[in-house]
């Protein structure tokens, strides 16, 4: 099934056998959002609330010699000041140390924007003024800002206890290379020997920011009894709770995190920055404290997604069979170790069946803010390299780029590059959907260029919980622990409606705080509709068993004689009229009391996601400006629960990917200052930069999910980087291997070509 036009937004999804799955009801939280009434973290005000302001390092690498807070403490309105010394001592190494030292610097600052101290005062302006009065003495240290310099033998080392993992024997000298990752199969030299054509290129991408419009914000209120309440913007409030507990050394059970509406995350709000700082200020001041980041802080101290250097060598026979691939990848990690290169290695050649491959990756630390996930983290840069080289092979062989990919397309049972075998996947279906699309079948307008590319992302399962309570009037409340970033409430309600046979608007989907619903992992890996949806379905199925039991009790019959059909208990022998949910809940006191069910699970069997995209572009050969004329994306959703929000995820991912390809980049001066910490010069796409983004929802159901859901949030951002570069190559003849494809770079390449 494919969908490009919105059908009516309620009613029956006729051709699927589902009543609610696949329909487009209005989201339950929508009215408040269009009325300006939805509550985001920065909107919250508590009685007696103070405003926090964080002092940040102006230096990329420096030792903190001293922090004098006396002047700030004496300023009007100031109620509390904290520095790293007020926080507990971090362990010498490991993930907890990295988190603790990101929240607030200890002995060293590792990037401009690194938090060093904070103030709470009566007003925002008083807090800011006091923060400016905090006197930090630094001893400047040499810094490194890019991969090449950070990997050099004589590079300044950020962490003197970092010895590269994955190298035998273990290095004796510390370095900025945190880890080396290798995936290997067959014999690449043999693969190259079998090839008729070999193409090798080096690619680079720049760090980019997730660019959510809502800056990080929280309000924290620590009670006299140690009980702490946190209202915040996050992709996972249980993670906020555990991370805050870790940073402060507090008991998890003492912390309650209440999710506010979240104004975008894209991976960037899967970690914490400000909550423990606000908590400590609140404890000191004995009053609630709000911290809201400025946009500049967001750019300097949160995100970004890493820049990368990737060397890619691919061999193919003249019939288009790809014989081998060899890749060298290095990813920026920011100030502390991450797993960017490891992820890049895992997905760099996932769209191809390969007998021979060798992939080697390096995670590199440097004086930049710590990487955080950004929609299919690491995959876009990896796809940029592979899909550019494959495009070049197709061109040189004179093959259609989709035919070449179909020729090398993996299927169920083939080995993945990183080990296990592919489950049911929809790459072939997506390739065919694009091949057969109106866009691809239409002649390319004169003067334009067309590019295609594929993208892969794993998707993940993880832990989710859901509670479904039936109300006394027969309506239902569905409580989950997954924040609603882009319409997940309505998706949960749709799945519950399908299970229970209730109208979707008789179901109230709620995002519960850490004390009203079971543990739920962060919304990441496109997992909310998959894993949390699975918990909702499981709870509903439990509830249906209970409902049948109540009917059996009412009818004084065996439960085996009761079926659940179209939202009602039906007596098999037909001696009683069906009992609706409303009828059963109305009589619930007589049959055993209120009805509710809870499911907590660790979801397995996440369905890998693929996307294939095509773009037509025009390039102004005199200015290097690129205009996106037409864009189509096909993506395997497994099953689209709410097609409008599936399309929304696809379109949003594409827009971000186009921004990454064309104009977005972190620009540092040599002295380590971020030059573009604002939306003026960090140029995310505006409405006039983009065409309509045509969507083709491909549905290859994931057998591990009751409705076949794969998860749709991430993979859409993977293909645009190579899709745009391939389209520009088609339009200009210039194969550009460095992003972004900004006008100066494009014009330079065009001019060099002569």
């Amino acid at each position: 099934m494919s969908t490009t036009e919105a059908p009516p937004n309620t009613g029956t999804n006729g051709n699927s056998g589902y009543r609610w799955v696949g329909t487009r009801p209005v989201r339950h939280d929508g009215l408040d959002k269009v009325a300006g009434k939805a509550r985001y973290a920065a909107d919250l005000v508590l009685p007696g609330m103070l405003h926090g302001h964080i002092v940040r390092s102006p230096h990329p690498h420096a030792r903190i010699i001293s922090i004098d807070t006396s002047a700030a403490e004496a300023m009007p309105g100031v109620r509390a000041v904290v520095t790293g010394a007020d926080f507990r001592e971090p362990p010498p190494k490991g993930a907890d140390r990295n988190l603790m030292c990101t929240v607030i610097a200890r002995d060293k600052v590792l990037y401009t924007g690194h938090a060093v101290a904070a103030v709470a005062a009566s007003t925002r302006r008083e807090a800011k003024a006091a923060a400016e009065a905090i006197d930090v003495t630094y001893e400047l240290l040499p810094h490194v800002l890019n991969i090449a310099n950070a990997m050099a033998d004589d590079a300044p080392v950020l962490h003197d206890n970092m010895f590269t993992r994955g190298v035998e024997p273990r290095p004796t000298e510390p370095s900025n290379v945190a880890a080396r990752t290798v995936y290997e199969r067959g014999d690449v030299e043999q693969g190259f020997a079998e090839a008729d054509i070999v193409i090798e290129r080096e690619f680079s991408t720049q760090a980019v920011h997730q660019g959510y419009i809502e800056p990080h914000a929280c309000v924290v209120d620590c009670g006299q009894d140690g009980k702490t309440m946190i209202w915040c913007s996050s992709q996972g409030h249980f993670k906020v709770r555990s991370a805050t507990a870790t940073v402060l050394g507090w008991d998890t059970s003492q912390i309650k995190v209440i999710p506010a509406e979240i104004g975008g995350g894209f991976g960037g709000k899967t970690t914490i920055y400000i909550e423990p700082v606000a908590a400590l200020l609140s404890t000191k001041a004995g009053r609630p404290v709000k911290i809201v980041m400025s946009r500049e802080d967001v750019f300097r101290a949160t995100g970004p997604a890493p820049g990368s250097i990737i060397k890619m060598k691919v061999g193919a026979r003249s019939d288009g069979t790809i014989t081998t691939a060899k890749a060298w990848l290095a990813y920026e990690n920011g100030a502390f170790q991450g797993i960017a290169a490891m992820l890049g290695c895992m997905c760099v050649v996932s769209s191809y069946t390969l007998d021979h491959l060798y992939v080697e990756g390096f995670d590199v630390v440097m004086n930049r803010p710590v990487n955080v996930a950004y929609r299919a983290p690491s995959a876009p840069a990896a796809a940029f390299a592979t899909e550019s080289v494959v495009d070049e092979i197709a061109r040189q062989l004179g093959m259609d780029p989709i035919d070449l990919r179909l020729h090398n397309c993996p299927s169920q049972g083939d080995p993945t590059p990183y080990g296990p075998k592919w489950p049911v996947i929809g790459l072939r279906d997506c390739l065919e959907a694009i091949r057969d699309s109106d866009h691809y079948q239409s002649a390319l307008p004169s003067g334009q260029g067309r590019g295609v590319a594929t993208g892969f992302w794993f998707n993940i399962g993880e832990a989710s919980s859901a509670t479904v309570n039936l109300n006394e009037n027969g309506t239902a409340t569905v409580i989950t622990g997954s924040p609603d970033i882009g319409g997940s409430r309505v998706s949960m309600a749709i799945m519950a409606a399908e299970e229970l046979g209730l109208d979707v608007h008789l179901i109230q989907p709620v995002v519960g705080d850490t004390e009203v619903v079971g543990f739920t992992d962060v919304t990441e890996g496109s997992r909310a509709t998959f894993a949390t949806g699975m918990a909702v379905v499981e709870a509903c199925r439990d509830l249906k068993r209970q409902l049948c039991g109540r009917a059996a009790k009412t009818w004084d019959c065996d439960i085996e004689q009761v079926d659940w059909v179209d939202g009602a208990a039906v007596h098999g022998p037909g001696e009683h009229d069906p009992l609706t949910i409303a009828a059963i809940t109305a009589g619930a006191k007589r049959t055993g009391g209120p009805l509710g069910a809870t499911a907590s699970l660790n979801a397995r069997g996440a369905g890998p996601a693929f996307s294939v995209q095509v773009a037509d572009v025009s390039v102004d050969n005199e200015t290097g400006c690129i205009s996106v004329e037409r864009y189509t994306t096909a993506q395997d959703a497994g099953t689209a629960i709410h097609p409008s929000y599936v399309e929304g995820q696809m379109q949003g991912g594409v827009a971000q990917g186009i921004g990454w390809a064309l104009n977005e980049e972190y620009i540092y001066t040599d002295d380590g200052t971020l030059e573009n910490p604002g939306f003026l010069d960090y140029r995310i796409p505006v409405a006039s930069d983009l065409p309509m983004i045509e969507t083709i929802i491909v549905e290859v159901p994931n057998p591990s999910h009751p409705y076949g859901v794969r998860g749709v949030g991430e993979v859409g951002i993977v293909p645009p980087l190579p899709t745009m570069a391939n389209a520009v190559a088609d339009a200009t003849g210039c194969r550009i291997t460095d992003l972004p494809l900004s006008p100066p770079r494009v014009l330079r390449e065009i001019s060099a070509q002569g």
Partner: protein, 164 residues
């Protein structure tokens, strides 16, 4: 600890209501609307006029409230997102945004609605390109703008139909 900041008394009309508030002169109108009047629909996405999340209509003109010093509002008429619905009826734009799934996280939505209202008030029959340029001062990072643009075009149709 003496206060150095003097506060100014501002009187204006917001969403049809006569209101007044006290503000420090250097404070933005955005913060005054949010903190003093409790109108938190307008958001601060950047504080520099680059994202449009704080868009309001002041004396008939679409503006970024983060760029307005709060005392400038004295004597003005202001419409915020909260004032778009009248007598419990959603503005056609609000209805079309809901039905067209034109919002994901929703944080940019109030600014888009206000900017789109100004556009449709001036030109209820815009082309897609006109919509895109009129909304270029409003950043959305979730939707890729597709469903926003469609919803604005749909609202234009509704407005024209009901006016006919």
């Amino acid at each position: 600890m003496s206060r150095t900041h003097v506060r100014t008394h501002v009187t204006c009309e917001v969403n049809g209501d006569a209101v007044d508030f006290l503000t420090e002169d250097g404070e933005s109108l955005l913060n005054a609307l949010r903190d003093e009047l409790g109108l938190t629909g307008a958001k601060e996405g950047c504080g520099t006029g680059d994202c449009g999340a704080c868009s309001i209509i002041m004396d008939g003109r679409l503006q970024c409230s983060c760029l307005i010093f709060a005392p400038e509002a004295n004597g003005t008429q202001i419409t915020t997102c909260e004032g778009l619905a009248t007598a419990g009826e959603l503005h056609p734009l609000q209805q079309c945004f809901l039905e067209g799934a034109a919002l994901q996280c929703g944080v940019c939505t109030p600014g888009f609605l206000v900017a789109a209202k100004v556009l449709l008030d001036e030109n209820p029959d815009p082309t897609e390109t006109e919509v895109r340029y009129a909304l270029a001062g409003n950043l959305c990072r979730c939707t890729g703008y597709d469903k926003i643009v469609r919803s604005v075009l749909d609202a234009g149709v509704q407005i024209r139909t009901s006016a006919a």
